[in-house]
């Protein structure tokens, strides 16, 4: 078994599995249970400034999108930051850090965009012995209407400014949590870098409406007669989060700033994927809100075995391993040719590949083999789009075969070239006029 010791901007934890700032990290009781279960660190649920605590709704705070078997695919919430008093939270943070010195305790913060407000809370948090702070610039509901959360994260200048205050008024590592509700995540990440942030975490939740009750003609869930949009998370957002993590990981201006990944991470495999795309550690929320804290057991065991299988000796071997494989479309090799191939021994003859190719793609699958019902790829039409592979219910039944250089592509009638040629080099590119 490989040791999963994790070092995230100097915060050393026994593993890279953290709980995201959210209901599971609202108080010491939950966090003690999480640490007992084996979690490496927590982002304490966001604290606000001193004074009367925020007020949450007493109706549904959560909504879910289910698969047919009631598996939870997507989740959303309209819960605000902690609704407990600042003093109680600070006291519990102090005690938890004392009781669990080997685990990470980072405090999520959200106060108005005023220098004094940040100065005040930074002093109080630093005094607890917490390992760092995470600036909540991502929460997309409720607080954002009051000029905080995502309302800050959506303005790069504010991101830079507040990050700089935090670096100025505290010795603690500063992590900026980014909102996905923007056009290009790199703009916010670069602002955090300019402000001196030690790391970024992403993604916060996505603006969402979960559904409409067509009997009552009201969006759902509602608080009485009306509802409000919430923040979307869970397995369904993972591809969006992975894109954003990889964009920041390979952005020169971001300069390799450490990333704490968030977004639908439920398993050790999700973790391995996010870390390969450049994350240093991961934060989990929906998965524990679905199954409880004990899932970390499999995450630890599975990730450790995964590293061993890949002949890796530590997490650093995994972090960023797949980043070089991510590029822009313009850099893709247009001379690379594949054809779909159906393994007739595995094929169960459902015909799904045929009907989707016939109705929606390239008419590249036939329905008869020697006069009997059966499905075969027509190389002359196949563009290697992968749709048949994606809809086939049998794993590995349809695969894409790479044509070797010199082999004739029946679709174009041309031999496959061994030369790498992307769009910027392609004769059809109008920008290459005359070239």
């Amino acid at each position: 078994m490989i040791d999963l010791k994790s070092n995230f901007i100097g915060i050393v934890t026994p593993n890279p599995f953290w709980l995201a700032s959210a209901p599971p990290t609202d108080k010491a009781y939950n966090i003690n249970r999480a640490f007992e279960a084996g979690w490496g660190g927590v982002m304490w649920k966001t604290l606000g400034e001193a004074g009367p605590p925020v007020v949450n709704v007493s109706g549904p705070r959560y909504g879910a999108w289910h698969g047919k078997d009631r598996s939870l695919m997507g989740f959303n919430n309209i819960e605000l930051i902690t609704d407990r008093s600042l003093d109680i939270n600070l006291e519990e943070i102090r005690q938890v850090k004392k009781d669990w010195p080997d685990r990470g305790v980072v405090v999520s913060l959200m106060v108005p965009c005023e220098e004094q407000a940040w100065k005040d809370i930074l002093m109080q948090v630093e005094d607890t012995g917490a390992d760092g702070i995470e600036l909540n610039f991502g929460c997309p509901h409720g607080m954002s209407e009051r000029g905080m959360g995502a309302a800050v994260g959506q303005v790069p200048e504010y991101v830079e400014m507040v990050a700089a205050w935090c670096k100025q008024y505290s010795q603690m590592p500063v992590i900026v949590k980014l909102t996905p509700n923007i056009t290009d995540i790199r703009t916010s990440a670069r602002a955090a870098v300019r402000g001196g942030a030690d790391a970024v975490s992403m993604i916060n939740t996505i603006n969402s409406v979960m559904g409409v009750d067509i009997d009552t003609m009201r969006m759902s869930p509602t608080i009485g007669e009306q509802g409000a949009h919430g923040g979307y998370c869970g397995p369904a957002v993972k591809p969006i989060a992975m894109h954003m993590v990889s964009e920041v990981a390979r952005d020169a201006e971001c300069g390799g700033i450490p990333i704490s990944a968030i977004g639908g991470i439920s398993t050790w495999r999700d973790t391995a994927e996010f870390m390969a795309l450049g994350a240093t550690n991961v934060q989990v929320c929906t998965a524990v809100m679905t199954h409880g804290f004990s899932i970390v057991e499999d995450m630890i065991d599975g990730l450790s075995r995964c590293l061993a299988d890949k002949n890796m000796t530590c997490l650093e071997d995994l972090i960023g391993a797949a980043v070089p494989s991510v590029t822009d479309w313009s850099q893709l090799n247009l001379n690379y040719v594949v054809k779909a191939e159906i393994d007739q021994d595995l094929c169960i003859k459902c015909g799904r590949c045929y009907i989707v190719c016939e109705d929606t793609s390239h008419q590249a699958i036939s329905t008869l083999i020697n006069g009997a019902r059966g499905f075969e790829v027509i190389d002359k039409e196949c563009v290697g789009c992968n749709l048949c592979v994606n809809v086939c219910p049998v794993e590995n039944c349809i695969s894409l075969r790479e044509l070797k250089p010199g082999e004739i592509d029946e679709r174009t009638g041309m031999p496959v070239s061994s030369e790498y040629r992307n769009w910027t080099q392609h004769p059809n590119n109008p920008m290459n006029a005359g070239g």
Binding site: K68, I348, C350
Partner: protein
Amino acid sequence: MNTTKSNAKGQTDIATARLSEQQCHENFSDLHQPFNSYGALVEADRCYYCYDAPCQTACPTGINVPSFIRMISQHNAHGAAGKILQENIMGGTCARACPVETLCEQACVRNHEEDGPVRIGLLQRYATDKASQDQVEFFTRAQSTGYSVAVVGAGPAGLACAHRLAVLGHDVLVYEAQAKAGGLNEYGLAAYKMVDDFAQREVDMILAIGGIDIKYGVRIGTDLSLADLQVKHDAVFIGSGLGQSRSLGLADEAAQGVEIAVDYIHDLRQAEQLSDLPVGRRVVVIGGGMTAIDIAAQSKLLGAQKVTIVYRRGQEHMNASDHEQSFALQHGIRIVFWAQPEKLLVQGKILTGIEFASTQGDNFTLQADVVFKAIGQMLVPLDSGLTLQGNRIQVDAQQRSSIAGVWAGGDCIAGGDDLAVSAVQDGKVAAQSIHHSLTANQSPSTQPNQPSQP
């Protein structure tokens, strides 16, 4: 039926109330637990929605299975029922009684995977039951054409034909020999497949279309001739089934204890109290089809101690599917292959046993209080001039008989497979053919509507 409990010497043992009525009732409860809505959703989600789906091809009535299952998965059970009934007006009975393991479910591509076929039969039942509970109506009758069609027999073929004709606007008069409609659905299928008087509920649903009248207690060939019907009506459909059971051809078949399986099941299905039925302690069933399995299982469930099915050929030749055979074995029924009945053992006109000649070993004798004959049925001769083929009515692909104006379908025709689902298809095809024939000379504008899309 014979209700004598035992002969004077006590050598045979036929008794009522072998089990309490309550126990009988439990034994004859639903064979398969129906899906609840959640179970149906999960099962429906297993369907791959195949292109040119093999399950649809395998269905004698051509129900668009992937389509109705997708509707179930989208919480549209009523739409699903409409899809089913559009092709098979007896979709409810077929969902209960079809040998799906040799039809749609055998064809399911999921058989290539570990978890087996999509349970199409149970999904079909879920949808049709839901629509029935919610009293959804799927068909409206076209404007009356003024044509009158005679249908002989209110079984699956006859009622399917009558319903389609009524939808198309024709008036239908059904001639039924029994006191109730439904045919084998009412009188022949095993009781645990058709609980809660389902056959009659389905008949009521079919007749609700209007335009169908039934004359009960009228037997064609006895009370009325085919020629009479041709005079009275514009077309005739014969769906009279097979009325005459084959005999063993042995001496003493009239002895007490020698029974015809379908007659016993007929009585069983109509019994007010199952515990009132006389049941032999030792029961021997001769035959290898579904009726043999049904009578054997039902005897066991009524309290028979020892039930043996004896079939003249091998296991692989049985008409009863592997599934049905294993159902029988699970109920403690023994199946003996490659043996033919040679002699009924009778003392004072009361059966005591039966001797068999085995083609694969020694001859043997089984003691028996009851021997059930389940070796098939034959057409009751109509003396009508219809051309027969292998003793059944010859028809073409449109179900037309050799006599112009006379169509036939169901078990009474040659080439049938003795399944309710095939009978429904015959009736449906015949109705369409009759409709074309009756309206062929009308201009298109006066032609009645096609069946409305449910």
